[in-house]
């Protein structure tokens, strides 16, 4: 929990402000989870903060919330071609993926119990980054990722918006994004 709070502060997830008239702050809570690996053994325990997204109001707290989700067929297809072309298959993840998305809407959150700043308890947190649980978080993250990866010279597949690729001569790299993990298939390690 303390790790997560430090991370949130470092990334400037919110400012402390007074709540404007007519707005309601949304609640939040902690979620704890055991992370297991392929053998079912416990790798680590995780704690993260989630927003109670269900109390958000359309038009005020969120607008467009669509973000693409990877179709498992496309993952299988890329895996199926990997032995034939002798491609590398690698995986990457982005730490606390959603935090990297910048918010477009103004959202206010109640201060956290036990972590409230002394003498400023009446203030609320004005969110700057999209946290877990907000309705628009996946979309904000996807948009940020999309801009970032296209900036690296990747092209987005027209048939599947969660798949990107980069071709340089006979070297190629395919990338499938599924929320905050990435599958990379290709014959060029250097681009990564």
């Amino acid at each position: 929990m303390v790790d997560e709070m430090a991370f949130l502060h470092k990334n400037e997830a919110w400012d402390l402000v007074e709540l404007p008239a007519g707005r309601k702050p949304i609640g939040s809570k902690w979620v704890f989870k055991k992370k297991t690996n392929a053998e079912g053994k416990v790798e680590k325990y995780k704690a993260w903060l989630v927003e109670k997204g269900y109390s958000q109001l359309l038009g005020i707290d969120f607008g467009d919330i669509f973000s693409p989700v990877a179709k498992v067929t496309s993952i299988r297809l890329l895996l199926s071609i990997s032995p034939a072309f002798d491609f590398e298959v690698e995986q990457m993840d982005v730490k606390i993926a959603f935090l990297h998305g910048d918010l477009e809407e103004e959202i206010y959150m109640q201060q956290l119990e036990g972590f409230a700043v002394k003498g400023k308890k009446e203030l609320v947190c004005k969110l700057k980054k999209s946290l877990y649980g907000l309705k628009q978080s996946p979309r904000m993250w996807y948009q940020k990722f999309d801009t970032f990866i296209q900036g690296l010279g990747f092209t987005r597949s027209k048939a599947a918006h969660y798949v990107y690729f980069k071709l340089i001569g006979d070297r190629v790299i395919y990338l499938v994004l599924y929320v905050h993990d990435m599958l990379l298939v290709g014959n060029d390690k250097e681009i990564i």
Partner: protein, 301 residues
């Protein structure tokens, strides 16, 4: 960002590779073992097929007496079928038909249905290490050769007399895409059931082709094998026909795709149609043959 190195575990699928033999193998062995334990089926005896020929399930069999209803309410039918579905969607096309049938009785399962669920678990117990295997070499210049099979089980649903569409698309000797689904309208004949199934398959084929070509891979017209000569004839002949006027416009999609040369519909012998096992319960010989062509096998093979 963090590089996790060579991928060996993605979305619940384990990835094993043999680079020298140019093979990759996807399986959910761990998951299957977990669900067998969760539903206390790890000591069940083994069976060879998920649904044997002759087992006919219908909603008619739903609980009739209060006592029976109470019995069934203690059975975790829904969650059991859902866990099977998860395995089916990722790496197990061999249980697609069984899961499709069983999921029709989610709201009111009866003893017969639960017995059938247990049977699928028994089947999985004997094949828990089975997964999808892909192998082979590509053609020149990133040319792929996706090959599809389509079939329909006419009036396979006993309650509404609707037919079951099934298709599977193979690439590098393993299935990449498959479906077994009850059709949304009643088909008046086997031909029409096959025709509708061909439309379902051609929709997927078009997406697969678009997906491949959008990434610089070369995939020409996708060949789909169908065992109904009359459905192929119907699809290739855009002429108006008094016997086809009741077929809904959307099902003529397959005609357009054939005309645009995006899909090739080819006649195949019924016994050589891999999609057969996705639309009906079949004998073990037929089932294991279909399973092998779909690339579903244990690791040692």
């Amino acid at each position: 960002m963090k590089d996790l190195g060579a991928a060996n575990y993605i979305l619940g699928m384990e990835i094993e590779r043999d680079r020298a033999k140019r093979k990759v193998w996807l399986n959910q062995r761990k998951y299957v073992e977990t669900i067998l334990q969760r539903f206390n089926m790890q000591d069940n005896k083994l069976v060879k097929v998920p649904i044997p020929v002759g087992v006919r399930l219908s909603a008619e069999q739903c609980p009739k007496t209060q006592e029976e209803e109470e019995d069934m309410s203690r059975v975790p039918y829904e969650s059991a079928v859902c866990t099977l579905m998860y395995a089916m969607v990722y790496t197990r096309p061999d249980i697609a038909h069984a899961v499709g049938v069983l999921s029709r009785f989610m709201s009111k399962p009866r003893k017969e249905h639960w017995t059938a669920v247990k049977r699928v678990f028994k089947y999985l117990r004997g094949t828990s290490d089975y997964g999808l295997c892909y192998q082979g070499r590509p053609g020149l210049d990133r040319v792929l050769d996706i090959h599809g099979f389509v079939d329909a089980g006419w009036a396979g649903d006993l309650d509404q007399r609707r037919s079951i569409s099934g298709y599977v698309f193979n690439l590098f000797r393993g299935a990449v895409s498959w479906m077994s689904k009850k059709q949304s309208v009643v088909a008046l004949s086997t031909t029409k059931a096959e025709y509708m199934a061909a439309t379902h398959a051609s929709k997927e084929a078009v997406w697969l082709q678009r997906f491949c070509s959008s990434m610089g891979l070369v995939q020409g017209a996708i060949r789909i094998d169908c065992d109904s000569q009359s459905a192929i004839f119907l699809a290739k002949n855009p002429a108006y026909h008094s016997k086809t006027k009741h077929i809904d416009v959307q099902y003529h999609f397959v005609r357009d795709m054939i005309e645009d040369k995006k899909v090739l519909l080819v006649k195949v012998d019924t016994l050589k149609n891999t999609a057969d096992a996705l639309t009906k319960s079949v004998s073990f010989e037929n089932f294991s043959w279909c399973r092998e062509i779909m690339g579903v096998s244990g690791l040692e093979k």
